[in-house]
């Protein structure tokens, strides 16, 4: 077993009376493609928001590379090396693709107000570095030829890829993808899975939050299953497919199963 890159320990989050996440423990092994799955309303997105700092957990701890990041604001977490994409696309619509991806480099550079105004040599070098990094990331997802296009003019599939490129530009060690395959056709999904593997091969750990079981089972090396805000299983895809509780959560219990015969 690889050493865990991300560890979520006893995390709990309630919204009013609703316990969205209840004592969830899981970890993401370094250098692998991990998935967080579960039926609708299982608390996946909440866990995700807790990791990325959008929400603060009521209890529990989140460790990233051995460092406690519980309750840190999002920009600190990004700096620490966690990048994310959004389930509902959140690009910068009126900026070009290149500018969108350049955003990722913000945390890796540091030119301030004065050096920007004075146009110092360091600042110009840094700008070149930002451009180069943005180019690499756009190349990676195959969108370099669209660099001068406004993000809002891209096709839906390309917008998803652009978000991944933007996240990659933050030079993360953990990339969290929130339902990256939603809204993609089969060809695009296959291309996406290939891309995710390529990113993993570069040494970036992936955490996937996904509905599409074909995607999850086809690509994941490590799966955590949530249901009703609780963890009900964790392991390799084979383990999960055998897990009674998971099968019940996804397909329902046999005795509760609606009997078609009684209708007639």
């Amino acid at each position: 077993m690889e050493q865990p890159l991300l560890q979520v320990i006893g995390v709990r989050k309630a919204f009013g009376g609703l316990l969205a996440v209840n004592d969830v423990d899981f970890w993401v092994p370094e250098g692998q493609i991990a998935s967080l799955i579960g039926p609708n309303g299982a608390g996946k997105t909440t866990v995700f928001n807790l990791i990325t700092g959008i929400e603060t957990p009521d209890a529990g701890k989140i460790l990233f590379a051995g460092r406690d990041i519980t309750g840190c604001p999002p920009h600190v977490i990004t700096r620490a090396g966690i990048a994310r994409t959004f389930q509902t696309l959140r690009l910068f619509p009126n900026l070009t693709c290149l500018e969108n991806v350049m955003a990722g480099q913000h945390v890796r550079t540091k030119a301030g107000l004065l050096s920007s105004i004075l146009h110092t040599r360091r600042q110009r070098e840094e700008e070149r570095q930002i451009c180069d990094a943005a180019r690499r990331c756009l190349d990676k997802v195959g969108l370099w030829h669209l660099r001068a296009e406004l993000a809002k003019n891209l096709s839906y599939g390309d917008q998803r890829l652009l978000e991944i490129a933007r996240a990659l530009a933050t030079e993360p060690s953990l990339l969290i993808l929130d339902e990256p395959a939603s809204g993609l056709n089969n060809v695009e999904t296959a291309r996406l899975m290939e891309l995710i593997r390529e990113i993993r091969d570069e040494g970036i750990t992936i955490l996937l939050i996904e509905h599409d079981m074909d995607v999850v089972m086809g690509i994941s090396e490590w799966i955590t299953v949530l249901d009703n805000g609780r963890k009900i299983g964790q392991g390799t895809p084979e383990d999960i497919q055998q897990n009674e509780e998971v099968i019940v959560a996804y397909l329902g219990k046999e005795e509760e199963d609606f009997s078609w015969n009684s209708c007639n």
């Binding site: 604001p73 920009h75 690009l91 290149l98 500018e99 955003a103 913000h106 920007s116 070149r128 930002i130």
Partner: protein, 323 residues
């Protein structure tokens, strides 16, 4: 092909800007004192428009109380000069710093507000400041009469007093500010501002410290407005609260929206429309508001992006990295 035409266009654009600047240098010698004065006030408005453009145009924060910072700059110069006799030359940067400082203090508690909420609070700030000035706290602001007898700036043996002096003072400062802002637009800071305007949540997720970036924009915008206020104070020698009303803030806001949010040439065009046109239409004074109202309606329907919307400059950048 595309690269060739762009490369050709670049020096040509430089040439146009150079010619335009030359025209500005000659202008006061040909135009006479009245038009030189009009141009000076136009310059002050460009400066104010540019300062508000940082906040409204670049970051997308709706600030409709910008006249407050303009007032803070003017009153800093007025009070420090008349009460303590500090030379107004020194007060030019001091007013900028004081206004910027107030910009920080006043907006820090409200920086998390979005859109219309921020708009309402900034209107409130503007009104509170104006009423405070009228109430003459500690006998400093002179109440409704304002501050009288502000001295002119003295640079060595030159006293900046004639229209042409002010014209060049404003021209120099505005040119420097435009150059600085153009560079800022193409920097990491300028882009971060645009990211926040486009999508705050995504910007935060990209690792941008949204809060401090917004504060930076407010401090910078307020500081520049303060400098404009200082110039105004030494030009008029008298300042009073009625120059810094909510109406003034509306005019500034209109300059930015009319010209095109986030566009520096847009601010200049917007200021021209808002300042020079009324001068030209002086004979139709009664219908001025009617004209503006109609123009705004027509604008919003047919050209909501502004008269001179900001162009994306990334084509150039893309080419640069390709080489």
């Amino acid at each position: 092909m595309e690269v060739v035409s762009e490369a050709k266009e670049f020096p040509r654009r430089r040439l146009i800007y150079g010619a335009l600047f030359l025209l500005l240098l000659i202008f006061p010698f040909k135009a006479g004192p009245y038009w030189t004065d009009v141009a000076t006030f136009f310059g002050i408005y460009v400066l104010l428009g540019l300062s508000l453009n940082i906040i409204v145009g670049e970051v997308g924060l709706f600030n409709m109380g910008h006249a407050a910072f303009y007032a803070l700059g003017a009153y800093t110069t007025g009070i420090l000069n008349t009460v303590w006799g500090i030379p107004t030359v020194w007060l030019l940067p001091v007013s900028g710093i004081v206004a910027g400082g107030f910009g920080y203090l006043l907006t820090r508690p409200i920086i998390h507000l979005r859109g219309d909420y921020l708009l309402i609070v900034t209107i409130g700030l503007n009104e509170i400041l104006r009423i405070t000035l009228i109430n003459d706290p500690w006998g400093l602001t002179g109440g409704p009469n304002g501050v009288l007898g502000i001295k002119r700036m003295r640079l060595g043996s030159l006293v900046i007093s004639r229209p042409i002096h002010f014209y060049f003072l404003v021209l120099i400062i505005t040119t420097l500010v435009v150059m600085a802002l153009l560079r800022l637009q193409r920097s990491r800071i300028g882009r971060a501002w645009n990211y926040i305007r486009e999508d705050e949540v995504a910007a935060e997720a990209m690792g941008i410290d949204v809060r401090s970036m917004k504060l930076l924009a407010f401090v910078l915008g307020a500081g520049l407005a303060g400098i404009a206020g200082s110039i105004y104070a030494t030009k008029m020698m008298i300042i009073s609260p009625e120059s810094f009303t909510f109406w003034e803030s509306i005019v500034l806001f209109t300059i930015v929206v009319l010209g095109g949010m986030g566009s520096i040439p847009g601010v200049i065009v917007g200021s021209a429309v808002m300042m020079i046109l009324p001068e030209l239409l002086r004979d139709f004074m009664q219908y001025r508001m009617l004209f503006f109202g109609a123009a705004m309606v027509v604008m919003m329907v047919f050209r909501p992006q502004g008269l001179w919307p900001s162009k994306r400059w990334q084509l150039e950048m893309g080419r640069e990295t390709e080489e």
